[in-house]
Symmetry: C2
Subunit: 126 residues, 2 copies
Amino acid sequence: MSSDDFMDALVQATFHVTGVLTRIGAENDLSLTQLRVFGILRDRRPRVTELAAYLGLDKSTMSGLIDRAERRGLLARDKNPHDRRAVDVFLTPAGHELTERLYAQVREALTPDLDRLRASLHENTP
Amino acid sequence: MSSDDFMDALVQATFHVTGVLTRIGAENDLSLTQLRVFGILRDRRPRVTELAAYLGLDKSTMSGLIDRAERRGLLARDKNPHDRRAVDVFLTPAGHELTERLYAQVREALTPDLDRLRASLHENTP
DNA sequence: TGGAGTTAGTTGGTAATACGAACTATCTCT
DNA sequence: AGAGATAGTTCGTATTACCAACTAACTCCA
């Protein structure tokens, strides 16, 4: 499988997974973007700007996004000890719990498509 | 690699690709959702409801989304010949051109991460 | 070492995105 | 023929997202 074929398959897989994430997010009163935030914070504690870069969003977009999730008790801010301008973002226990619950739903939703997805991303595809 | 491990890797890969798509969309004055629409319409001609289901969005969200893209000449609506309630959506030539241009940008942006992504999705990962 | 130039994050203004509820038109099925 | 279901739109509201402008803090070199 050529690199271009692999990347096309990956992008198609991404569209499929993103559709699933969007639907599961909506069912849990979360936007796709918020879901992405939780997925990233699951095992990271980035600064606001790093989070924005990873999401591909402007940092000004992050303020409101973080505000609303913080108001719901799902994540929190903390001053970065090395740079007093910087703000670290991380999941609260409630946020961690929610994230694991969401992941379980996503895994369940993806299971029926698993074989097809695996095949589409592996070498021996025409 | 277990199914759960594969799905976790796939979701992480999705987050990464989605970040790239978001950034490239923004650079071309397109939202992530519009980009997803183009990626789906690339080789399909679904009804509005089918498109909504694939995106994981409510059908009421589609109207405005399609309106704005149609106003920009990137996609078009057509009455479904078999069901007069239904509306088919498809890319215009300009939309096709833009989509191919975007795909080229995405492939280029993903190239540096290719080996890592491939490895993360393949069997022999710890 | 002091200040010019960067960088981190927020705020405010505007447009796009997204949902649910309510509506019209059409289809299905008995 | 008509009751109920389905396809799509419209409307009202909240969220998401950009840019420009701003403050605070950091860099670094002259």
